[in-house]
């Protein structure tokens, strides 16, 4: 018997969906196992169809994206109610995603930049009619409703999603590994003597050799090893888009302490190398950082 599955998209780029579709011919094996009851990107069922399903009647629910709008929050709660096993699918869902970087500012500033102050805007206003309204602060979905399974990644690879689905379809556990991108990386590593950090446009990255050893900020050492070291394998530094392994609670804090230990430079020079620590160390997971959570709490209090 195929299992009933619902796939919901909150605010996101839809890359997780594209990644699932990128199984391509592999889809021919997976699709017969699934009875799709909601997947707006692909199938014509509407929100009211999802809302009308009995509680707990869907075997597997995948939630992509994070809650930027009040409608996102509603859909998340409906998915929780309808699905037996709920999967936080992708870094937006698990960690808040790149849009979590917006938590750095008061929400009003975000609205103003886009709708009031953009160079090309001729009729500034904040749109309101027949629209859901915004969530002022991005929280990772697991701090809003409980999830049974977490699968980070920006996006998770097609294989990651297939592995998770296969486990769920065969009633096996799906746990995240505690290994890092470095554990999967084929580049040759030597002893580190980092005296200066280079920016990626400077010089040339030498192929085949550890990118961090060469003085470029490659975050593989603090990032969960799920992707197969996709970026270092093509001569490009890891930006940490899958977030940290489960044992690390705060990605950026871990990165900063590790850099302090490995960089052979004065703390002032290290600090000056990274004038934007939030952007550099919390690419897709600022919303799940201690700093951002504190800010979210304070915003709640102000109200």
């Amino acid at each position: 018997m195929p299992k009933r599955i619902a796939l919901a998209q909150l605010s996101s780029c839809w890359g997780c969906d594209q990644s699932l579709v990128d199984l391509h011919l592999g889809l021919l094996d997976v699709l017969p196992e699934l009875d799709i009851v909601f997947w707006p990107a692909v199938v014509d069922y509407k929100l009211k169809d999802l809302e009308a399903l009995p509680k707990g009647s869907v075997h597997i629910g995948l939630v992509e994206g994070s809650c930027r709008t009040k409608e996102d929050e509603h859909i998340l709660k409906v998915m929780r109610e309808k699905c037996k096993v709920l999967v936080a699918w992708g870094s937006c869902s698990v960690l808040g995603g790149v849009q979590g970087l917006g938590n750095q500012w008061d929400f009003k500033e975000l609205l103003e930049r886009k709708f009031m102050k953009a160079d090309t805007v001729t009729d500034p206003r904040i749109p309101e009619e027949n629209l859901p309204g915004f969530a002022e602060h991005i929280f990772p979905n697991p701090s809003i409703v409980p999830f049974e399974v977490l699968l980070p990644g920006c996006p998770p690879t097609s294989q990651n999603t297939l592995d998770a689905l296969t486990a769920l379809l065969t009633n096996k556990p799906f746990d995240l590994p505690n290994k890092t991108v470095c554990d999967q990386c084929p580049m040759e590593r030597k002893e580190k003597h980092i005296k200066t950090f280079h920016r990626v446009y400077e010089g040339k990255i030498e192929p085949g050799k550890c990118i961090l050893d060469q003085g470029y900020l490659c975050l593989g050492f603090a990032t969960i090893g799920l992707c197969g070291a996709q970026c270092p394998s093509v001569n490009t530094p890891c930006k940490g888009c899958f977030g940290p392994p489960p044992a690390i609670t705060d990605h950026g804090a871990k990165i900063i302490s590790a850099l302090g230990a490995i960089a052979e430079m004065e703390p002032e020079k290290l600090e000056a190398s990274f004038p934007d620590p939030i952007g550099s160390f919390y690419f897709t997971d600022y919303a799940s950082s201690y700093l951002s959570k504190m800010k979210g709490k304070n915003r709640g209090k102000k109200k």
Binding site: Q9, L10, C13, W14, G15, C16, D17, S19, V21, D22, H24, L25, L28, L31, P40, A41, V42, V43, D44, Y45, R68, T69, E71, V98, L101, L110, L111, R113, K114, F115, A118, D119, T120, V121, T122, D123, P124, R125, P127, E128, E129, N130, L131, C154, P155, R199, V200, Y201, E202, K204, I205, P207, Q230, C231, V234, N235, T236, P275, G279, S280
Partner: protein, 436 residues
């Protein structure tokens, strides 16, 4: 309230992004207004501020998981323009290969997964069967070919960009990873099959056009302005000038993307988080334009490759120029699919494509601003960044592809709603027997 009925479609399905539809009707059953409510936005314009400019190609790619390559490249080009740097010629060829690979897979995805269900199951078909999953079941040969076409494009994107979804290799000054001879040889072999599938897709599209000739030429024929890129008149997606065509077919502007602010206006509708972009000199709503495949085919004199040019000529012979038929967007998409595969083949055969001279090593940031413009599958894409002397973003303005289409889409929907809900057009239009 004068309206007695409001129809809400929530969400609009088989759409990339978050959209809902509101149709307001009067008591007498007349359509009063149609709103396309884009119901989410994430504020990239703000949270790019303060970031290293060279990281924007990776951050801004996250605007769209279906078309991250155009964002990756528009961001790179914006920073290069701000810092006044020109990457090596071989890097530009690699980027052209990357954007064409994306054009190819995205157009295939759109045609087979987003659009084809309407035609194969029929507009009045069972919603449960009106999707690509049902197509794969009912028409396994078409389904398999669709998956292979998408796979070729996505895998080629990954071969150049490192990852297909959120590519990583383009940076200000060039590309971080050259294309190996081994990979080039592999894709040169595979491109022959892809070309064959493409031509079969053209045949399928032509059959759809024939079958649906009545609705294509009668429903949602919506005159607007059109915006698109060209290079000496040829349809172009990586680098060129922008043209604006008015509803009569006259080219009213032809300009460098860096001057976009003279021609672009963004109207903020009260019912959409996505702005309505329009031709500023003629004001809103008169200057509403559309971008994307049909707009590009309208503004270009011709296609850049021979087979695609033949296909364009066929469409122009049938529907003229400019074409206002909204359904012809699908036809134009297939014409561009042909150009994409021809461009891919040409670039793979170019010996420079495996050059290792693909990155400058002496790039220096400077204070300034730069515009990066490419054509995304859904339309003209502009990233405009300001950086300080350390190369940190101080301001960003982005006009993304889809926003060029929202107002035109709404106009087209209003017309269709009147035709269907008031005049019952769907009862008199000739529709074929559904294939599934």
């Amino acid at each position: 309230m004068t309206e007695d009925k409001i129809i809400r479609i929530q969400p609009v399905t088989r759409l990339e992004g978050h959209g809902e539809l509101t149709i307001k009707m009067t008591k007498a059953g007349k359509v009063k207004d149609v709103q396309f409510n884009v119901s989410s936005t994430r504020f990239f314009e703000k949270f790019l501020e303060g970031r290293f400019a060279e990281e924007t190609p990776r951050i801004a790619a996250r605007i769209c998981g279906i078309c991250p390559e155009p964002h990756h490249l528009a961001a790179t080009k914006a920073v290069e323009a701000a810092w006044d740097i020109t990457p090596p010629p071989a890097a530009i060829k690699l980027r052209r290969l990357l954007i064409n690979a994306k054009q190819y897979s995205s157009h295939a995805l759109h045609f087979f997964a987003l659009a084809a269900p309407d035609f194969l199951a029929g507009p009045l078909g069972d919603p449960a069967k009106r999707n690509v999953v049902a197509i794969i079941k009912a028409l396994p040969d078409v389904g398999k070919m669709a998956l292979q076409v998408m796979q070729f494009g996505q895998e080629l994107c990954a071969a150049i960009g490192g990852k297909a979804i959120h590519p990583v290799t383009s940076v200000p000054g060039g590309m971080l990873n050259p294309f190996s001879e081994e990979k080039r040889d592999e894709y040169l072999k595979r491109v022959q099959d892809a070309k064959e599938w493409t031509l079969k897709t053209v045949d399928l599209a032509k059959k759809v056009v024939q079958d649906y000739w009545d609705p294509i030429t009668k429903l949602a024929v919506t005159p607007t302005y059109y915006l698109g890129m060209h290079n000496k008149g040829n349809l172009e997606i990586y680098d060129g000038n922008l043209r604006v065509m008015d509803p009569t077919g006259k080219i009213v502007a032809d300009f460098k993307p860096k001057d976009y602010r003279k021609y672009y206006g963004e109207y903020v509708a009260n019912h959409s988080y996505a702005t309505h972009v329009y031709y500023k000199p003629d004001g809103y709503p008169k200057g509403i334009w559309r971008a994307n495949s049909l707009a590009r085919c309208n503004v270009a004199d011709k296609m850049a490759t021979p087979l695609a040019q033949g296909a364009l000529q066929e469409m122009r012979d049938a529907l003229g120029r400019p074409i206002h038929a909204t359904f012809a967007y699908h036809w134009a998409r297939i014409i561009e699919l042909v150009q994409a595969i021809e461009e891919i083949e040409g670039l793979l055969k170019d010996p420079d494509i495996v050059s290792t001279d693909v990155k400058l090593s002496d790039v220096k940031p400077k204070k300034g601003d730069g515009v990066g413009c490419v054509e995304a599958p859904r339309g003209t894409l502009i990233h405009h960044y300001w950086t300080d002397e350390r190369g940190i973003i101080t301001k960003a303005n982005m006009v993304v592809a889809t926003n060029n289409n929202i107002a035109g889409l709404e106009k087209s929907l209003l017309m269709t709603a009147k035709q269907v809900l008031e005049d019952k057009a769907h009862e008199s239009l000739k529709l074929p027997e559904p294939m599934i």
